[in-house]
């Protein structure tokens, strides 16, 4: 009985640091500046500017999640079968970039993608046409993929490593083709990792305002940019909260999907 009390500070902190703050967003979202009840902040999502931003955010987040998955799954397969060294080393090379400040890493792409930048100089020397994607949605997707790719690779790699090699061997012994092993063994058994990876890429991509700000040249508005501006420059917290509530609907949906697909938390953190 006495031991349970040790968790009191934590429960208090969860209540004060998570439950109350989320309730505050709901309160601000459903009231106006004078504190009267209103749903204007919620239906404000139907204003063209806001609806467009949300649509673009969803689109870019889906694209970057798909790209991350398509890059990460073969990569995790290669890592599983490779002699690249211990698990620690593989994880190490994917984590190391994170020790460079994330804003600076994202900004470096400006330098790389810019008209006279490294990338285009490289294309030029190979006599290829230059690629001007800086300040376009394509650059934002590239930034998202770059920043969040490790979050997709590592859970999938983790899930693949847990698969018993004997199962795969047995399948081959029984005459399965490579495609069949992929479809019927590797993919289904790595679902917890895939689900976890998808959530961990989709949620930050959907809600980012930093990447779009840096690589979109400040002209492309995602829903995160609009919310950030309502809280900083425009100082309309009620509208910002209302739009956040709408955005949170999508976060909750992806969390619920994750909880269903990864019941035991296998593809999860530790």
């Amino acid at each position: 009985m006495y031991r349970k009390l040790l968790s009191m500070p934590f429960i208090f902190w969860i209540f004060v640091g998570t439950v109350i703050p989320l309730a505050m967003i709901a309160y601000y979202g459903f009231t106006d500046r004078l504190g009267n009840f209103t749903i204007n902040n919620i239906i404000a999502i139907f204003q063209p500017v806001h609806a467009q931003a949300l649509g673009l955010s969803l689109g870019l987040a889906l694209i970057s999640t798909a790209v991350c998955f398509l890059l990460a799954f073969p990569l995790a397969m290669i890592l599983k079968g490779s002699s690249w060294g211990r698990k620690g080393f593989i994880v190490f090379i994917f984590i190391l970039p994170m020790w460079m400040n994330f804003l600076l890493r994202t900004m470096a792409w400006q330098v790389i993608l810019e008209k006279g930048g490294i990338f285009n100089t490289m294309l030029q020397t190979m006599h290829l046409p230059s690629l001007n994607i800086i300040n376009t949605p394509a650059a934002i997707v590239l930034g998202m993929v770059y920043d969040f790719l490790p979050f997709m690779v590592l859970p999938i790699y983790n899930a693949l490593m847990k698969i018993d090699d004997n199962i795969i061997e047995a399948a081959y012994d029984l005459g399965a083709t490579k495609g069949r092993v992929l479809k019927d063994i590797l993919l289904p058994l790595s679902v917890p990792g895939i689900a976890s990876g998808i959530t961990m890429v989709f949620v930050p991509s959907l809600t980012t305002f930093v990447i779009s700000n840096i690589l979109g040249g400040g002209k492309i508005y995602l829903i995160g940019n609009i919310i950030e501006q309502e809280f900083t420059t425009s100082a309309n917290w009620n509208l910002g909260s209302g739009l956040s509530l709408i955005m949170m609907v999508f976060i909750v949906i992806s969390m619920a999907a994750l909880a269903r697909l990864d019941k035991s938390g296998e593809g999860n953190f530790i």
């Binding site: 998570t18 703050p21 505050m24 990569l75 955005m247």
Partner: protein, 267 residues
């Protein structure tokens, strides 16, 4: 897939991951302030780093907040794990569900929700509010690191110590703590990393007076970043790299560090 294709694929991905970092490092040695033109090799920005008072205070804030937040989160989180494990299965599931909220939630939502609460309850946004915010998002990482170790240990050893006449406090100190220490350490390091790396939550809870390294960089994005920040980041990156390599080398086959990297990865 043939081996050659696999290797080429790996190399392309590695280039993709490390090209921006190499670019930043190279430009930290550039003589001019421009990010787009190379004018010559210089250590100018490395020297300037030590005279930039704004930057020195940002470094101080970043690391003082990270160490305090990680330490407090580690204490609260470890205590919580000991308490939670004594609860019924049902309450455990509920509490762990709440624990996952800050972890899976978007940073921007965590940031604005805390900002609104701080202001509503009359806090003045400064170093302290950033610290409180960081503790909030650090605790879940500690719990996720410590909990599995505690589950692995089971209640047996602790109960045996009690049967042999140890007081609960003594048994806890001599039996439980040594067993879960790797989890506590990796939880602390994970929390520390997350705190140093955070921008979004700090952005909303810092108020006007203080800067961390991240917010300082963000404030300069529009006007053009001074290469001193590249120099600083290069230094931090290399220091961390050296520490990680040494730790990994020293611990040899010890699985602890591998787990740490892995846990950082998952964050």
């Amino acid at each position: 897939m043939s081996k050659a294709i696999k290797t080429i694929y790996m190399i392309i991905i590695m280039m993709f991951l490390y090209l921006p970092i190499v670019t930043l490092m190279v430009f930290s040695f550039n003589e001019s302030k421009s990010m787009f033109a190379w004018t010559g090799l210089s250590l100018r920005w490395y020297k300037e780093m030590f005279h930039d008072t704004q930057m020195l205070s940002a470094i101080w804030n970043t690391f003082s907040i990270a160490i305090s937040a990680a330490a407090i989160a580690t204490i609260i989180g470890t205590m919580a794990c000991v308490g939670i494990i004594a609860m019924s299965k049902r309450s455990q599931t509920v509490i762990m569900g709440f624990n996952n909220i800050p972890l899976l939630n978007a940073d921007i939502v965590t940031g604005i929700s805390l900002m609104l609460s701080f202001i509503a309850f009359g806090f003045y946004l400064n170093w302290g509010t950033v610290l409180l915010a960081h503790i909030t998002f650090c605790i879940p990482y500690v719990i996720l690191s410590v909990m599995p170790k505690l589950k692995q240990l089971g209640p047996g050893n602790y109960e045996a110590a009690l049967d042999l006449g140890a007081t609960p406090a003594y048994a806890f100190r001599k039996v439980v703590i040594p067993e879960i220490k790797p989890g506590i350490i990796s939880g602390f390091l994970l929390a520390f990393t997350m705190s140093v790396d955070d921008f979004v939550v700090t952005h909303f809870t810092r108020g006007a007076g203080i800067n961390t390294i991240s917010t300082l960089i963000y404030s300069q994005v529009k006007v053009g970043i001074r290469p001193t920040l590249f120099a600083l980041s290069t230094v931090i990156f290399l220091v961390v790299l050296v520490i990680l390599v040494l730790v990994n080398f020293a611990s040899g086959k010890d699985a602890e560090e591998e787990e740490f990297f892995y846990e950082v990865a998952q964050g």
